[in-house]
Subunit: 343 residues, 2 copies
């Protein structure tokens, strides 16, 4: 007959020891270092553990060992882009026997600080920091931070083990793709002004224009916030100009989608009237109509490699300080030669 009674007090290692008339030490060893014991004893312990439903108390283990088996992954937002990085990190963590806890900051330095506080209270053995908002926020905490790996973008002026991509180079290539198609009036919708990622992508855009000898007046940047809505606003402003651009490079896919929506709304076509280039290769880039030309970042690998590196650090093994993964230009259906090439 089943006993549905929920024990008021959780079973502890003492209960198991008493049940078997063994010492707690023996029970503990049977569970963590079975090699040291007689196989028969180990078996008896296992049986009793099963019977009593004993689970080691993680808090006590943590306190004793000074280690949690937990890694915090801190991302700016819950967008699909960062989630894919998180997935990679999670995979690598699991392979190493770590659990991951995701924290998202909504691009708020304060929230970042909260997570830093938590980990400095001993809640995690390590941290994966994905594209921190403010370099300063982290500096104040650095002293107390457990081993930390920075992902996606180096923290300015700080030395952390890093796994990243070359945003500037990737943006250069994206812009250059438009130039090679014959475009000259190429606008850029930027990300948030303070985001290092956005800044570097902008630099790549400007560098490509310069390299092609395009006068600065012809290209131009309009501000966005990495959201669809901000892409719409930016594109509307571009289309209201006397000489609208023939191509637009958005600093991420979301804003590119926003741009396309506005272009279509005005009765113009993509790419026949305006070419649009995205960045990130989020899933929506594949399924949108038309499918979006963009730059693929190895998001999963970024997370995966970073977590592997963190595992190396925690295991005191060797690792590369700065790893740069490569990006890929993906031409789909939103970029084409301009109808009336202007020289």
């Amino acid at each position: 007959m089943p006993r549905p009674s929920q024990p008021l007090r959780p079973t502890t290692i003492k209960d198991v020891a008493r049940e078997l008339d063994l010492s707690v030490a023996t029970v503990s060893r049977a569970l963590t270092k079975p090699k040291l014991l007689r196989p028969e004893t180990v078996a008896r312990v296992r049986a009793a553990v099963e019977k009593l439903g004993y689970r080691p108390n993680l808090a006590a283990q943590n306190l004793k060992l000074g280690t949690t088996g937990i890694v915090y992954v801190i991302v700016p937002s819950l967008s699909p882009f960062f989630l894919e990085i998180f997935r990679g990190a999670e995979r690598a963590a699991q392979e190493g026997g770590y659990s991951v806890v995701m924290g998202h900051t909504d691009r708020h330095p304060d929230r970042e600080g909260e997570f830093f506080d938590q980990v400095s209270c001993g809640r995690a053995d390590g941290v994966l920091l994905v594209s921190t908002a403010e370099a300063e926020a982290i500096v104040n905490h650095k002293r107390r931070l457990p081993p930390t790996v920075v992902v996606l973008e180096a923290v300015e002026g700080q030395i952390f083990p890093t796994v990243r991509v070359d945003h500037k180079k990737a943006a250069f290539e994206a812009t250059n793709h438009l130039i090679e198609l014959g475009h000259r009036r190429i606008a850029h919708i930027t990300g948030p002004a303070r985001s290092p990622m956005a800044i570097h992508r902008r630099e790549g855009y400007l560098a490509a224009l310069a390299a092609a000898g395009i006068r600065s007046g012809e290209g131009s940047c309009v501000p966005g916030e990495f959201t669809v809505a901000s892409g719409e606003v930016a594109m509307a402003s571009l289309l209201s100009r006397p000489k609208p651009p023939t191509a637009v490079f958005a600093a991420n896919d979301e804003m590119a989608i926003g741009a396309i929506r506005v272009i279509k709304d005005r009765g113009l076509r993509v790419p026949q009237d305006v070419s649009v280039m995205g960045f990130d290769d989020q899933r929506i880039a594949t399924i949108y109509d038309p499918p979006l030309s963009t730059v693929r970042l190895p998001t999963f690998d970024l997370g995966y490699s970073a977590m592997v590196k963190l595992r190396c650090i925690l295991a005191k093994e060797s690792y590369e300080m700065d790893v740069v993964l490569s990006t890929t230009l993906i031409q789909r259906a939103t970029t084409a030669a301009p109808r009336i090439p202007d020289a």
Copy 2:
């Protein structure tokens, strides 16, 4: 090989006590129950804490208090849909002083079990379980589970505090919307066969057809997996029939998008040639071209209300056992009357 900065021994409460020549008890009280102490003492302690960078060790607190201040939120996947529920849960948790840890199971009962193991080891004070895959998986663990609230869909045959929506009713209304537009040949793309959510939505679809007196041969279900790709496959199969449906009700937005893609690919138009109805009102439903008619679920509120309920349980306050939140039909641009209404 670079050397990570070795974190020095963390400051403990003893260090603070020694610094001030006070007892650890006083320091502890100054931090947790300032009212019991002389304001001057409290101030001195606060200053020393700041100076030494002391942080209470959470593992030790946890061990002593038998409480973690953590709630696990377990979701089947990292889709935007579940993330929005998670957001709501997080907000309510934060308001109650709890931290949340998200676990996703990839619809894998084993992974669900792993999280259950973790929480039964004392890693969390409570659990928010969003749409569990297998009722059985949870039964084995129920004995050891801390207070648990089920979100989105009741667990079959189990009694848990629940916050959910009426999937069947919502699907009924969605199907009825198509019927009222004049459609008769209405197909349904289902979710995974074992998903209770998918099953109930299907039931709503069938009930609506029956209520309208539509012969069962005219409507029909094709299987999907809640993914864009599966929606494409399902739609392709529907279009290859001698008498394709004039309207399709997909059990979620993703599959609806897949269906639209295939319809457009075949040179047909949405909604002129085929109407498409989604479910969930994910963000993509708003920005897709054309914007998707769908059913809005109060995702954020589901998570929020569920976490509030969990807080009540943990605080031993009263709460409603079963809460059902309402859904909203949203007509956008993918549903219209059929071109040639068939009687």
